[in-house]
Each structure stands twice: as structure tokens, then as C-alpha cells.
């Protein structure tokens, strides 16, 4: 447990920013320390010829952007030395989920369809992190086109959970969560359509936020399900998440669904929540439908303990019912798949990305499109395209898409009713801790059930945060607690999240990730084990 304790990589982003301001170290040193950590924990390619087999280590990154990151870091150092005014997080490196387009390095969405594709433009959130002067370490792994709960659907091999290399890091944003929890990056960007930021945060012991729909621009975020997708921070502390949300949030005229209001302040709310008595007067509702049966015992236990701590910190805890949440998962899989079937139609080999000619027979446009899509998409992408195409078809539309939209309205109404009674809602983030790699790949429905607690917020557009709540006694794996707030009340999440975090850390005598096993030793042990 020693090499995880490198002085620079274990700093939170806020601490690192402070150190940079004080001149304790340079951004180049900080960035290099993270690049070194990536180097020692990513592992090597299992098969140099076949990227789909992934790496022996974490495989959190699909592309590492070392040179550009160091150049950017040096530029920040030079500007700081020249006495220039710099944004608060300037010089703190960040990792970006490979669903978000970037110039200067590939964007793949973890799909063969886009292998090697270079975007000619930056996503709005990437522009914002560049303006905030955060060197970009690289692009993180995900389930193909963000479709999955384990990163096992990545075309370039799964990411491994740093708590147990034979377990999933969650998904779709397993790469960002693993990178942050394993100290490869202090900050990362994720995207959350049905839990893709929060569930990975939960199973890796990191913090993940899905902001209010429209709070962060989606321009340049490869669309999975447009009405549900949202970009958000993945960090090790609630405070860092608040700081990053302030960087990436705000109105963008290029995204019609963007909310025309300034983002934040969030950091001040996080600081308020972490102070003594910071949760006084806060009314928290426990979602009845998201507890009990179907939740792993250690998850329930840590959840109940968290409620006690919240109560001790001055919050009032009540139970609320959201009766339509039971139907949310079904509605989600219809709406999401319908939008997916249309959003993924553009991948046809005509303008960019993979183009595959038919192996035999005439080369017509239909046959090229067909061969390209057959070769370029993995099985989960195909499953959802087929499901969505079916759901939107004439004669089925009303029964499937139409009914799902009605359920969506009912779920929104449940939230509205609940927020008339309480300030925030709380539930476990995920019903289980990290499951084993391969355990659910043959059973899509059991995989989908992992998103049961995270999906309602996406359907309603409300914001949510996942905060580490400790380790499950039965297997020593991280458990996450999720808070949900009304639309545009993201600030409440930072207050209550920071309050719980402060109480837990007092109990643990530090962050949960201080208990992370030494990653390099785990990799070495696993490599030796498989060599035997």
C-alpha cells in the first residue's frame, strides 16, 4: 500500500491547485507524476495485434496524450512564473471520457466504427477545460458508445476495477472512474445517460455527478440518447466535483437544450455542507422504492449507516414514495434504445470512420453501409439499435415509445411530488458492489437491472451525485450513496454530499481511497497468476 501514496498523485484537485499556487511543485511535475502512474498501472497489451483483448492492468485509457499534456502544463507553469492571472484549477491535469470529441487526439467512443477518427473540432466542455488550463492526460475507456454498465462492451478491452482487477469498474464510464480512483488522474469527465457516471463512481469509491439536464453543454459529446445524456465530473472529493462542475457548466448556444443560466456557485455550497452543522434544516427523503429487496446486504448496511451520519449532522430524514420508479427501467430502455437507433444511424462508412466493403457480391451503397455497420458495431450496440428500431416502427410506436414517454411523465411527477416534501432524495447508487468480469455479459437484463436506482433521474432530468459510503463488509468493495435534487438545484447535492463525506472521513480518518490496495502489486500478482 505504499506506491499509491506518492505525494503528488494522491492530492485532490483542490490540494494540487493549492500546491501549484504556492509554488510547491510545477504543473509539469504534477502532470508527469500522473503520466508515470498511468504508465505503471495501465498494464501492457494482452495481444499487440488485437486491441479488443485489452491490457494486463487497468486499461482505463484508450489514448494517452503525454506530449500535449506536458506542453500544456509547461505553458501554465510559464504563465504562472510570469505572474499572469490563471483560472483556479490551472495546471491540474484531467482525463476525458472517449465519448467527448477532442482535437489533437483520437476520439473512438470505444467502437471499431471510429477507431483512429480525429475530430476536427473540440466539444464545448473540452474548450472550457482548455480555457481553464487543465492539461488533458488522455481519453478514457467506456462501453461502446456508452452502452453498458461494466466497460466490458468496449471494443478495446474492458477496464479493470482497481479494488479487484477481476471485477468491473462499472460503466459506461468505467475508464474515468478507474483512472480517478487509482490515482491516474485527479479529475475526469464522464457522461451519464442512465448512471454511467454514478454507478462507476459507486463501485470504485469515487465521486460522480450527473448535473441537471441542460446544465452542461452536450455539443461535441457523441450522442447515445439525446434526451438523457449529460456530461459531469468524476473526482475523488465532493469539493473537486463542485469545482469542476463550475468549469464545465453554463449556457451554450450550440446546444438547444442548454439552460440559459450561469452555472453554480457549487464550491461554496460544498464548503458550507462540510462545516460543522452544515446540514442543519435539510430535509432528506429516503426513496422507499430504492431500498430493501434486491439490494446487496452490505450496500444496505452502509446506506443505513450513512443515514445515521446525516441525521447526526443535523439533517431530518423521512421516507418518501415514488410509485412509478418501478416502471422507470422499462421506459428507459425503450426511450434510450429508440434514440440510440436514430443517433447511431450516421455511422455508415460514407463520411468518416470505418468503411467496410462487402466480402462478396456487388458493391452498392446499401451493401457498404450494411457491411460497415455489421463489422463496426459490437453486440450491445446492435442489440439496442434493433430494439429501438422496433420500438419506433409503425404499429408499435404507441405501445412502446408512446407508453414509455407517459411513464417518463409519471416519473417526473413522482419527483415533483417528492420535492414538495423534502429538499433532496437519497438512495444507494447501485444495488450491488462491483460484480465479476464476465458475470453478466450473457445476461443483458441482469446487467440492465444494475441501473435501477440511477435511471429515474435521467428520465426526469434532475441532478444526482454518488458519494462513497464505505466498503461492503462481505467483500470489502466500495458502496455508493446517491443524492438527488430538483432541476437546477445541483448546489444542494454539493452541500449534502460534502456533509456526508466529511462525516465519513472523520470516521475513517481519511478518504476511502486511502484504503485502495496497491495497484502495481495487484497487477504483478495477477500477471504472475495467469502465467502459471
Amino acid at each position: 500500500m505504499t506506491t499509491n501514496q506518492n505525494a503528488l498523485i494522491t492530492l485532490s484537485a483542490s490540494e494540487a491547485a493549492e500546491g501549484l499556487r504556492n509554488g510547491d511543485f510545477t504543473s509539469e511535475q504534477l502532470t508527469q507524476a500522473h503520466l508515470d502512474r498511468i504508465e505503471t498501472t495501465e498494464g501492457t497489451a494482452v495481444d499487440a495485434e488485437d486491441r479488443s483483448l485489452g491490457k494486463t492492468g487497468l486499461n482505463a485509457f484508450l489514448h494517452v496524450n503525454a506530449e500535449q499534456a506536458l506542453d500544456d502544463a509547461r505553458q501554465v507553469d510559464a504563465d504562472r512564473a510570469a505572474g499572469k492571472q490563471l483560472p483556479p484549477l490551472a495546471g491540474v491535469p484531467i482525463a476525458v471520457k472517449d465519448l467527448i470529441v477532442t482535437t489533437g487526439q483520437p476520439t473512438t467512443a470505444a467502437s471499431r466504427m471510429l477507431e483512429g477518427w480525429m475530430s476536427p473540432y473540440d466539444a464545448t466542455v473540452v474548450q472550457k477545460i482548455r480555457e481553464a488550463r487543465l492539461p488533458i492526460l488522455g481519453k478514457t475507456n467506456l462501453d461502446e458508445f456508452a452502452m453498458g454498465s461494466s466497460t466490458e462492451h468496449s471494443a478495446f478491452g474492458c477496464t479493470r476495477n482497481p479494488w479487484d482487477l477481476d471485477r468491473i469498474p462499472g460503466g459506461s464510464g468505467g475508464g474515468s472512474a478507474a483512472a480517478v480512483s487509482a490515482f491516474q488522474a485527479p479529475l475526469a469527465l464522464g457522461t451519464d445517460t442512465g448512471g454511467s457516471i454514478r454507478q462507476p463512481a459507486s463501485v470504485t469509491g469515487s465521486v460522480g455527478v450527473k448535473p441537471t439536464y441542460g446544465s452542461v453543454s452536450r455539443y461535441g459529446v457523441i450522442a447515445m440518447a439525446s434526451s438523457l445524456d449529460q456530461v459531469g465530473p468524476v473526482t475523488r472529493t465532493v469539493r473537486d466535483a463542485a469545482a469542476l462542475h463550475e468549469v464545465i457548466g453554463g449556457y451554450d448556444a450550440r446546444d438547444s437544450t442548454s439552460i440559459n443560466e450561469p452555472a453554480g456557485p457549487y464550491l461554496a455550497e460544498a464548503e458550507k455542507g462540510a462545516t460543522e452543522g452544515g446540514l442543519k434544516g435539510l430535509k432528506i427523503g429516503v426513496v422507499k422504492e430504492l431500498t430493501g429487496d434486491g439490494f446487496q446486504s452490505g450496500v444496505s448496511q452502509r446506506f443505513q449507516e450513512s443515514l445515521e451520519l446525516l441525521r447526526a449532522a443535523g439533517a431530518e430524514i423521512v421516507e418518501v414514495s415514488t410509485p412509478h420508479f418501478d416502471h422507470a427501467l422499462g421506459a428507459y430502455y425503450l426511450i434510450m434504445a429508440s434514440e440510440v437507433s436514430s443517433n447511431l444511424a450516421k455511422y455508415d462508412g460514407v463520411r468518416f470512420g470505418l468503411r467496410k466493403l462487402p466480402e462478396e457480391g456487388p458493391v452498392t451503397i446499401e451493401r457498404v453501409m450494411s457491411a460497415t455497420r455489421a463489422a463496426g458495431f459490437g453486440p450491445e450496440a446492435k442489440r439496442r439499435i434493433i430494439l429501438g428500431t422496433y420500438a419506433l416502427s409503425a404499429g408499435y410506436y404507441d405501445a412502446y415509445y408512446g407508453s414509455a414517454q407517459k411513464v417518463r411523465t409519471l416519473v417526473q411527477r413522482d419527483f415533483t411530488n417528492a420535492f414538495e416534501q423534502v429538499d433532496v432524495l437519497v438512495s444507494p447508487t447501485s444495488p450491488t458492489t462491483a460484480f465479476k468480469l464476465g458475470e453478466k455479459t450473457d445476461d443483458p437484463v441482469s446487467m440492465y437491472l444494475n441501473d435501477i436506482a440511477t435511471i429515474p433521474t435521467n428520465l426526469a432530468g434532475v441532478p444526482a451525485i454518488s458519494v462513497p459510503a464505505g466498503l461492503a463488509p462481505e467483500n470489502g468493495l466500495p458502496v455508493g450513496v446517491q443524492f438527488m435534487a430538483p432541476v437546477k438545484e445541483d448546489a444542494r447535492l454539493y452541500r449534502v454530499g460534502a456533509g456526508l463525506e466529511a462525516a465519513l472521513q472523520q470516521q475513517w480518518g481519511g478518504g476511502l481511497l486511502d484504503q485502495l490496495p496497491d495497484t502495481e502489486s495487484l497487477i504483478a500478482a495477477r500477471t504472475q497468476g495467469s502465467a502459471k
Binding site: T107, R218, Y219, G220, S227, S256, A345, V350, L392
Partner: protein
């Protein structure tokens, strides 16, 4: 392979045609419907594009506000109800000219519904065409098929130009039009003409059919004479001139009639019009079950209008073409026939501007319907595009009134003006075309002419005044047409001592 067709008269004896039109109007906004890329015609392929036009991963659309205003204006001009809330929807289909493999359009909640257009056939017969809806959507790119006959079948490869991809379109859909009978082909032409005139008048489209700014899909079906039963329809796509619309509708009526007469069924399908052979050929089969899997566009918020906005736009609407025609005819005092000729020649606006510039209604008509139209016809362009301005006409008329030139010279001057040699005054100056007004010079020219034709002079003296024409002709010849013929005639009679 040509289809069997029946003669139009035979078809009309047995069947009643029912028509329907979908007219696509390309708007002349500066940028595209959902994108900042320029909306411009004729540039190098794939230069007016952005990541959004190409549908690259991650891009998002945003609605062009000017295009929405244009759609509202058109809706109002068509007498439609403007929806307080309308939505965009995705029409999903795979085709390489559509970069996202779906077209962003409007489906069950269009911006404008329930209107009508009054149209007039060339002989003045009036029809009212009911409008079901007008909705906003985006244009597709342009495919060029290379090799083979330049059509998709048999081509070796195809090129795609996305400059047009995303250009704002408004699609205007009529309700079925019954009762046109044998006037159906004319009505088709008049309808497209009326729509073109409306959008041009609103200033929302360049409305140039040869550039595809206005494109018509014509639906035709036949009912047995006197029956209410609707026949199976065909949709003839992209008929891109008014004359072609008329011919395509006529052709389809005759073709349907032959199929029905043979006891066969009309295949519900899209047809393509071929201007060279003046026939339609079968496109792809189309059925009501065509499944575009429409669903609400999740990347766009609804278009919300309010009464204040709509009323402001309504107040800005120009006078409707039909009302304007009635007003102008009354102001100018033209007969119905004269006015109809003016309208059909497409020079009404030019005449209006010429009168505004100072010419009388009769002078303006004389020039625009006369020499300008004649020259335009010779040069195979529209009179308005000839290069003669209202000022040209006013100046020409002024020169005639002043006696500087005569009608014949004025026509020559016009030709030089439209060839770019300057204003009429400049042309007269440069080319020395002024009439000979020097009395001495004229007088001696008349003396010479009379001397060269003594027998004619004698006849005139004897009272045959009409014989003076020959002498006038001689003088005009001698002065290369630059004499004032009336003055020449006066001089002849004076010199011979005859009363005029």
C-alpha cells in the same frame, strides 16, 4: 420502355383527375436551417459546410430563427393557422445525401395548418386550392452519379456535395384537389406559379425553379367519372419547371387512364419526370406503410410562437399578389385582356416600377410588352432579366417626347442599352443616333428626294397625299433613319404647296 397512354380527351371522357401537390421551397436565409454554414448556391462542392452539416459525431442542431419567421410569414400568406407550439421530428432513412441518415422535419405538429390559395388560370378562371399544412425541414445534399447514363442505375460511383445539406425548406402540402377536370394540367401549372409568386413576393426565397428553389411533387389519381371514390395515386417527383408540372400531370392522367382501361391496377409509387422524353418512369414503390420511424427530435426544443410575434409578422406582410393585381389593374386602366397579357408575360412589377419612375401606364405597357419582351424572347430570357430598367424606359420615352429620337431609333437605342453601352442618352450621344433636326439639312434632303422622283411629286401635287410616303421613305433612307418622319412629311407637303 414507354408506357401505353390514352389520349387526354379519351381520359377526360371517362375519369375525373384528383390532384395533390407537395411543393418544397428553399429559403434564402444567410445560413442553414440548423447550422451556421452559409446557405449559398453554386459554390465549389463541400465548401459551405461545418461539422453540423456533415453530421459528424457529437454535433447538435440549433434552429435558424429567420427560417422560422419565414415559415410563419408563408403560413400567414397562405391563410394558415400558426401553431402556438410546434415540434421538429426525425424522419429516419438511410441515404448518402442525408448525412445523419435522418432528416430533421416536422411531423404531427407543423408550424402552419389549414390554409388556402386562390389561383387563376391563364383565361382568368378562378380556383381555390386548400392547404393542409406547411412545415419546416432541411434539404439533403446533392448526388452526382458518374458513369452509365448519369442515373443511379448503372453508375460506377456517385459523388456527394453537402453544400445543400441543411438548407432550410418549407414543404407546402395541399389537400386533394377535385373538380379541375380537363383543366387539371393547367391548374397544376397555375398552382406552382402562384406559390412561386407568393414566396417571391414575401422575399423569403429566390424562387428560381431552375436552381431548385421551388420544387414540386405532383400527386395524381383518377376516379371514374362522377364517382367519389379516390383512385390509387402516384407521386411524380421533382418536376422543376412550371411547364413540366403541366406536362407531367397531363402525362400521368393519360397513363393512369390507359392502365385503368386495360383493367389493371395503378401501382402506388414515386415516378420520375423526364423532360427529354416527356414521360414519367417508375421510381421506387411507395406505400402508406413506408416506415420512417418518426419521433420527436430530442436535440431541439419546441418552436413556441405567441400572438404578439405573429401579429408583428402579419403587419409586415406585403400585399398579397391577387389583391395587388386587382389594385394595379384598376390604377392603370388596362382591360382584362391587356392586364392578363402583362401578368402572363411576367412584367407586372416592371411596369409598376416604370410608372413609379415617371412613365405613363400606356408607355410602360408599350415598352415592356413590346420591344423589351420581343428582345427577351429572342435572347431566351425573362424580360426582367434583359437589363432594361424602369429608368431606361422613362428616359427613352423622354427622348421621343423631346423629338430627339423617333420610335425606330429608340428601339435601336434600347438594344444598345441592354448590351451595356450606357444609358439611352449616352447611347444616342456616342452613336450619333439623334434625329436630324437641322431644318436646313432636312430641307435639302427633301429637295433632293423630290428632285429624284418627279412623277411622285407630281402625284402629290395632284392631291394624292398618301404618295408622300414614298418620298418620306427616300428621305429616311438618305438620313439613315435619323430624321423625324412627321417633320419630313410636313416639309414635303409645304414644299409642294399641298394641305396635309
Amino acid at each position: 420502355m414507354s408506357d401505353e397512354i390514352l389520349s387526354f380527351d379519351e381520359a377526360m371522357a371517362k375519369y375525373d383527375p384528383v390532384l395533390g401537390f407537395e411543393v418544397h421551397v428553399e429559403l434564402n436565409t444567410k445560413t442553414k436551417m440548423f447550422d451556421d454554414a452559409p446557405n449559398a448556391f453554386g459554390d465549389e462542392p463541400n465548401t459551405n459546410i461545418t461539422p453540423v452539416s456533415l453530421g459528424l459525431p457529437g454535433v447538435l442542431p440549433k434552429v435558424n430563427g429567420t427560417a422560422v419567421e419565414s415559415a410563419i410569414k408563408l403560413g400567414l400568406a397562405l391563410g394558415c393557422d400558426i401553431a402556438p407550439v410546434s415540434h421538429f421530428a426525425r424522419k429516419n432513412y438511410f441515404y448518402p445525401d442525408t448525412p445523419k441518415n435522418f432528416q430533421t422535419s416536422q411531423y404531427d405538429e407543423p408550424i402552419a395548418e389549414n390554409g388556402s390559395v386562390d389561383i387563376e388560370l391563364e383565361d382568368g378562371t378562378q380556383f381555390t386550392v386548400e392547404i393542409e399544412r406547411a412545415h419546416m425541414e432541411e434539404d439533403a445534399g446533392k448526388l452526382s452519379h458518374k458513369g452509365g447514363a448519369g442515373r443511379i442505375q448503372g453508375a460506377e460511383y456517385s459523388l456527394v456535395d453537402y453544400n445543400r445539406s441543411g438548407v432550410p425548406l418549407i414543404e407546402i402540402v395541399t389537400r386533394p384537389i377535385r373538380g379541375a377536370g380537363e383543366r387539371a394540367p393547367e391548374l397544376a401549372k397555375a398552382y406552382v406559379k402562384a406559390i412561386r409568386e407568393i414566396v417571391k413576393n414575401l422575399g423569403i426565397s429566390d424562387a428560381r425553379m431552375e436552381r431548385g428553389n421551388v420544387r414540386c411533387d405532383a400527386n395524381v389519381s383518377l376516379s371514374p367519372k362522377g364517382s367519389e371514390t379516390l383512385g390509387t395515386r402516384t407521386e411524380t417527383k421533382n418536376v422543376n419547371s412550371m411547364r413540366a408540372v403541366e406536362r407531367a400531370v397531363r402525362y400521368e392522367i393519360c397513363r393512369h387512364a390507359a392502365v385503368l382501361d386495360a383493367g389493371e391496377q395503378i401501382v402506388q409509387e414515386t415516378r420520375h419526370w423526364h423532360e427529354d422524353t416527356r414521360e414519367t418512369t417508375s421510381g421506387r414503390p411507395k406505400s402508406d406503410a413506408d416506415d420512417y420511424r418518426y419521433f420527436p427530435e430530442p436535440d431541439l426544443v419546441p418552436v413556441v410562437t405567441n400572438a404578439e410575434w405573429i401579429e408583428r409578422l402579419r403587419a409586415e406582410l406585403p400585399e398579397p399578389p391577387a389583391e395587388r393585381r386587382r389594385r394595379l389593374q384598376a390604377d392603370w386602366g388596362y382591360s382584362d385582356e391587356e392586364f392578363r397579357d402583362v401578368v402572363n408575360a411576367g412584367v407586372m412589377t416592371e411596369i409598376e416600377e416604370t410608372i413609379a419612375a415617371g412613365a405613363s401606364a400606356s408607355v410602360a405597357r408599350k415598352w415592356w410588352m413590346g420591344e423589351i419582351s420581343r428582345l427577351a424572347k429572342v435572347r431566351e430570357i425573362d424580360p426582367g432579366d434583359l437589363g432594361a430598367s424602369p429608368e431606361t424606359v422613362v428616359e427613352l420615352d423622354g427622348l421621343i417626347q423631346e423629338g430627339k429620337i423617333n420610335d425606330k431609333i429608340a428601339r435601336q437605342v434600347l438594344e444598345h442599352v441592354v448590351d451595356g453601352e450606357g444609358t439611352p442618352g449616352e447611347v444616342v450621344e456616342k452613336r450619333g443616333l439623334a434625329v436630324v433636326s437641322d431644318e436646313g439639312e432636312l430641307s435639302s434632303a427633301v429637295d433632293d428626294a423630290l428632285a429624284s422622283m418627279p412623277d411622285v411629286a407630281e402625284k402629290i401635287r395632284g392631291g394624292k397625299v398618301q404618295a408622300a410616303g414614298a418620298v418620306v421613305g427616300q428621305v429616311m433612307k438618305a438620313t439613315r433613319g435619323q430624321a423625324d418622319a412627321a417633320r419630313v412629311r410636313e416639309l414635303i407637303l409645304e414644299k409642294l404647296g399641298v394641305e396635309g
